[in-house]
Symmetry: C2
Subunit: 233 residues, 2 copies
DNA sequence: TGCAGCATGTGAACTCTTTCACTAACTATA
DNA sequence: TATAGTTAGTGAAAGAGTTCACATGCTGCA
């Protein structure tokens, strides 16, 4: 920790390094998707107003998000589509290809293995693991299923950077520990439990039940109260 | 102080009805999961401090979340596990079973159909749709695949309340329009595009690519800068 | 019954995020 | 070259969400 001498009585001259928020990063992903579509349509420039139209965002939001990373637009004109796309990709770390492994080739795991969008966006699934003898050694959509027993060695050998965890919750933590010991610092998990990991490992959870419960909450409130608002979308 | 009897029987004069945040609802889901596990272990009471340990939450956060909905604990003791579980389930609208339909029985769709946790948590998958003639009429994990042509009629007939959309992005919007016209007000979508829906329809998006890009952003920053902080977790 | 200890519930402070409002800067046109 | 029109960039204000801090009120025990 530490770093920054900040904290004195200085009223912050310039919003120093700045902390980038969770939501800003997610929005960058969305801008990127839209820019890809625009580029395919040969659109040359786009204004913050048009970019904002991809959802219920405001032009100011778009400009602020981008301003954290630099000045990419031209006043009076807008942003150059192709250029901005490259910039955002760079910000998100997508100027390189990433090596992934899928652990657990069950319902979710196989869905991931077959997903065409991943390689298109820079994610190469290099390894697939399971502990089921019937699956190990078999080809799964072109990928040989490896034995979970060799998890650490194979992750290291293939220099895997990100792992998608699609195993039962009961074994998610123990597998996580091995994954972390293999130097993997990015985990996308589908198990509905909290994973304990060191500070420098990033975990994102894809929790469908949680999202469904968000919907039931919203629907229940709305059924009882007024038919709109509550700010949920 | 406390709330003096203003006019009417309106509670709280200051902090008005209040808006419940997105994050509070998600945390309630997580509390609920933990409470289920605790109940299974015959734990009788739990303090906000212990509840907070499920992640990087603070006891104050837990208490604040719950306080939006009432006073469920006992000072000096904590919260009664079983009782709190029922209360939170009620808040989230889980005191009833919900009728779901899955649209698109491809990679993701079949994963959802086979997922055991859904029925356990109150979600009954009643219908499954596809437009592929080879799939229509066949049984998929016990469920007959319906023809997408009959979407609206079947949704209405079965009084479907929530739909999970697992179709290609290219057809997601048109299917959404039909779904909405059938009175469905909750949608969980896996297509990586923004869906246009009326105000009173709630949409939640499960976007794996976005989460992966969050990881690549975090990993890139960390590779370049200091090996910790930046507030990302 | 009284006392010590403990954990809730909550206004208030604080921090983070979004929106506002204005200036700077470029394009297009005449 | 001047001028009108447009839009990015950005401090500052406003709005949300989180954390603090403490009084309140319960439990358990002597
Ligand atoms: N299927 C869904 O729609 C869905 C929805 C939400 C959450 N999830 C979660 O995603 C995870 C995976 O779900 P699923 O439906 O794919 O389950 P699944 O049972 O179909 O697949 C799990 C796979 O993991 C393998 N496995 C089990 N133990 C292992 C081990 N120790 N090492 C390696 N592999 C092991 C199994 O052999 C199996 O292939 C679970 O945690 C589940 O709760 C699934
Ligand atoms: N598979 C993944 O891991 C993954 C990851 C992220 C996002 N997604 C997204 O989830 C969605 C589904 O992905 P998938 O991998 O399951 O795709 P898929 O192609 O395996 O399945 C799509 C299914 O939808 C059906 N379908 C197509 N058009 C239809 C129509 N008009 N009406 C009804 N059914 C129709 C197809 O027959 C097929 O069964 C896509 O939008 C995809 O981008 C998938």
């Amino acid at each position: 920790m530490t770093d920054t001498e900040n904290k004195s009585e200085a009223p912050a001259k310039t919003r120093t390094p700045k902390q980038i928020s969770d939501s800003t990063i997610h929005r960058l992903s969305r801008y990127l998707r839209l820019l890809g579509a625009l580029e395919a349509d040969s659109v040359k420039t786009i204004s913050s107003k048009e970019l904002a139209s991809i959802k219920r965002l405001t032009p100011a939001q778009v400009r602020k998000d981008l301003s954290f990373f630099g000045s990419f637009g031209t006043r009076g004109l807008g942003y150059p589509v192709s250029e901005l796309k490259v910039k955002i990709a760079g910000i998100l770390g997508l100027d390189k290809r990433w090596r992934l492994a899928i652990i657990g080739v069950g319902n979710i795991g196989s869905a991931l293995v077959g997903h065409k969008e991943f390689p298109e966006r820079g994610f190469d699934i290099r390894l697939v693991f399971d502990n089921d003898q019937r699956k190990i050694g078999s080809k799964h959509k072109g990928l040989l299923v490896s034995d979970i027993k060799n998890l650490k060695e194979e992750l290291l050998a293939h220099e895997i950077e990100i792992v998608a965890l699609a195993v039962p919750a009961s074994v998610a933590q123990e597998i996580t520990d091995i994954v972390v010991s293999a130097g993997v610092r990015g985990i996308l998990t589908f198990a509905p439990i909290h994973l304990n990991t060191p500070e420098n490992v990033f975990v994102r959870r894809e929790d469908m039940t949680m999202e469904l419960e968000y919907l039931t909450f919203a629907l229940s409130i709305n059924a009882v109260k007024s038919p709109n608002d509550l700010g949920l979308s």
